[in-house]
Amino acid sequence: MHPIIKLVSQRLALGLLLLFGASALIFGLTEALPGDAAQAVLGQAATPEALANLREEMGLNRPALTRYFEWLGGILQGDLGQSLTNKLDIADSIGNRLGNTLFLAFWAAIVSVPLAIFLGLLAVRYRNRWPDKLISAVTLTTISIPEFLIGYVLVYFVAVKLGMFSPLAMINDSMSFGQKLNSIALPVIVLTLVVLAHMMRMTRAAILNVMQSAYVETAELKGLSNFQVIYRHAFPNAVAPIVNVVMLNLAYLVVGVVVVEVVFVYPGMGQYLVDHVTKRDVPVVLACGVIFAAIYIGLNMIADIVAILANPRLRHPK
């Protein structure tokens, strides 16, 4: 078998294994920690009899392993269970919100990925000169402030003082595409700033690594133009590390979304998750946790697979 097919299938299998492990870990946590769904419904003041009755009713007395596999089977069929607090079907509630979250993350990625690569190239081009230092100082600052504070700083100065864009990112189906974009402008900027710094720094390091290699010197000593050196020799080798950087940061974006949604009261998965953590609504927290973990694991897996596919030693074995 071609070594690349072997490696990629190994990585895919590992991804599935991790996904399975993560779901077990999340479920196991809710079991191992004190308190359960019955307790959450009735509160701390509940009498032991009431708790026991409710546990019986909810099937919590059956072995944990049985309930885990029921739960997992349900997820695989698209059944995420029922919310404790409002008795609504979780899959229904999530469907729309997941779409909104992906919409927001998608636009943040569209803006931040090209920008990060461009700034990374710029920083390499003017390495150790003022553009590089300025970019690194600004990114250091944005790394040093939490997402939600960047959000409020922007709301304060852009939305309130300048009167541009809406401080709250409400969207619904009746809005036109343009209205939606206008509505998510600020959260997109916040998310962009948050991932931009990491992505740009990692891109800079990846490109520098390639530009300092001996084969780029060989290309320069062939009398090629700067553009040819970069396009023919640096780019084919820099693509894999950059894609890797992008994937890792998209994974990071998924987490950033949670907080930013709360800041802008955006009707997405993150907002939904945080609300239900506060309400101790275990089935919703479980479902959201597994979905976030799945996206995160998936993106990390893609990053690794790209690295495997791009390696010429693996693509053309001896």
Partner: protein, 545 residues
């Protein structure tokens, strides 16, 4: 006007250094160097690390590596000063008129592109040949350079061919655009000697056939003597001596050049074997965990007290594995090791403190063999403390004695390894092993990472110390000149087997087995015409068979 291709006048080169914790500042690394090179001639640039030889070579392409800048002087190529010419003209120069062969072809080829694409790129880009013509030329060069399957090797990727082959591909890359000048920067340094001689001959013939001029940069005077017409000796950015190859080799004027020429001429009288060996390795067979083949096959050697056994071989011969087996780091699959009249436990855990004390080891890379967080005093003092329970002033007195023995002295006692030069570091490692008062020291390529003169100093020191301390050396090396200088007996290793073993005089005298013959005849000798003699001799032999 004569046929001068390259004329360098008062070349000065500077570099910006960034010492951590200090402000970056500029230093000068080449201080006014001048030379001429005529068409079709070869000039050898020779010097130790830091001599500025590569920097000067790249200056002939108006190129500075990293933070290196040409700060003064003139570099004339084909009648114009390339330091004053336009950017576009420099691009025509690089890859068209002047090309470059680096030390590490493995790093200099783009891993993502086929060899052929990279070999013809400059020729096509400089509009010297069409793609088709260039490919034809490349195949001719592949054949001329002795590469296997010259018609198809270009379709492979760099990692799919061996190191020696890739180095020849790099030479083809440099010759393909029919340049006027090729800069060879240590093109054979990374290769084994038996591979080096083939590449060297291929380069020499290619230079002769194409009539190209060359700058040949190396630290090995014996190598450069084979290929160049003139030689310039450099040291710390200055010209030491500049003359014809014949004059430099046979009649060097400067003291430094004389030292370089006479390097490795240490004389060492062979000692007679004693009745009782200090170490005997009996039928050792070993393999690494996870491998399904043996790295050592039935190795038998003996080492006598106060003497030196040289274990010589090329990379992959198993010589370093043998050291690991003797030290107990790699328990063998079969065979046993007897040391100082007792049988040693095969693994480290089973050895007594006395076993460990009497069998010391010195490493190739002295800078990673010493803990960077410990002072020289701590490094040398620890064995004293550990084996002899020495403390306080008694320990300090002994450390100073040892520092005197390695010719460094008391002032080094509080220094850290980072403050020492390469040779000084290796001396401290020697002192550390002597501190244990061993019966035997394993020296694993201890001079390979050092410049020739520094290496010579270390070898002399080791020989002196052997007389004083009566210690035996198991000397592992790939360098036959070192073997001649230091050994009493020799074991030649090839593919995990000892192919020849005995007293020095016997091993180095004919009749030879095939491998030893190949190995011995491949070591460059410091006289003119050696390369041709060897190649002619080999041709005759193969014709005779």
């Amino acid at each position: 006007m004569s046929d001068t291709l390259l004329k360098v006048r008062d070349l000065k080169i500077g570099a910006t250094v960034y010492p951590p914790g200090e402000k970056p500042h500029d230093i000068e690394i080449v201080h006014g160097v001048s030379f001429d090179l005529e068409r079709g001639k070869v000039l050898g640039l020779i010097g130790e690390s830091g001599a500025g030889k590569s920097t000067i070579g790249l200056a002939s392409m108006a190129y500075g590596r990293g933070g290196v800048k040409i700060t003064g002087g003139e570099v004339w190529v084909n009648g114009r000063d390339i330091l004053k010419t336009s950017h576009g003209d420099i691009r025509k120069l690089r890859g068209g008129e002047v090309t470059y062969v680096s030390q590490s072809a493995a790093a200099s080829f783009n891993p993502a592109k086929k060899i052929m694409d990279q070999v013809v790129e400059a020729a096509v880009e400089q509009k010297k040949f069409s793609r088709k013509e260039a490919e034809g030329r490349a195949r001719e060069l592949f054949a001329k350079l002795g590469l296997p399957d010259p018609d198809n090797i270009g379709d492979r990727y760099p990692h799919q061919v061996s190191g020696g082959q890739l180095q020849r591909c790099m030479t083809a890359l440099a010759l393909c655009p029919e340049p006027d000048l090729v800069v060879f920067d240590e093109p054979t340094t990374a290769l084994d000697v038996t591979t080096q001689i083939d590449v060297l001959m291929a380069i020499k013939e290619a230079i002769a056939d194409t009539g190209v001029a060359a700058l040949y940069i190396t630290h090995d005077l014996a190598v450069v003597a084979q290929v160049s017409d003139d030689i310039m000796v450099l040291r710390m950015g200055n010209t030491v001596e500049y003359g014809t190859t014949d004059q430099i080799i046979n009649n060097p004027q400067e003291e430094y050049t004389q030292a370089l020429v006479s390097v490795r001429s240490i004389e060492h009288e062979e000692k007679q074997p004693t009745p009782e060996p200090v170490l005997s390795v009996d039928g050792i067979t070993a393999r690494y965990k996870g491998l399904n083949f043996d790295v050592l096959h039935n190795v038998n050697v003996e080492l006598h007290p106060g003497q030196t056994l040289a274990v010589v071989g090329e990379s992959g011969s198993g010589k370093s594995t043998l050291a690991r087996v003797i030290t107990g780091l790699l328990p063998p699959r079969d065979g046993e090791i007897n040391f100082a009249g007792r049988k040693l436990s095969p693994d480290l855990a089973g050895r007594t403190r006395e076993d460990l004390r009497e069998l010391q080891m010195i490493y190739q890379m002295a800078d990673v063999a010493m803990n960077p967080r410990q002072t020289v005093g701590t490094i040398i003092g620890r064995p004293l403390e550990f084996y002899f329970n020495m403390r306080g002033s008694e320990k300090r007195k002994r450390i100073i004695e040892l520092l005197d023995e390695i010719e460094l002295g008391e002032k080094f006692i509080d220094r850290y390894p980072a403050e020492l030069s390469g040779g000084q570091k290796q001396r401290v490692c020697i002192a550390r092993s002597l501190a244990a008062k061993p019966k035997m020291i394993i020296c694993d390529e201890v001079t390979s990472a050092l410049d020739p003169l520094v290496a010579d100093g270390i070898l002399k020191l080791l020989l002196d110390l052997q007389k004083i301390e009566d210690v035996a050396y198991l000397f592992i090396t790939h360098d036959l000149a070192t073997v001649r200088a230091i050994s009493d007996s020799i074991a030649v290793m090839y593919q995990g087997r000892v192919v020849r073993y005995g007293p020095k005089s016997q091993v180095l005298s004919p009749p030879f087995d095939d491998y030893t013959d190949l190995l011995l005849s491949s070591v460059p000798e410091m006289h003119l015409g050696w390369l041709e003699e060897v190649v002619a001799h080999r041709k005759m032999e193969s014709a005779g068979n």
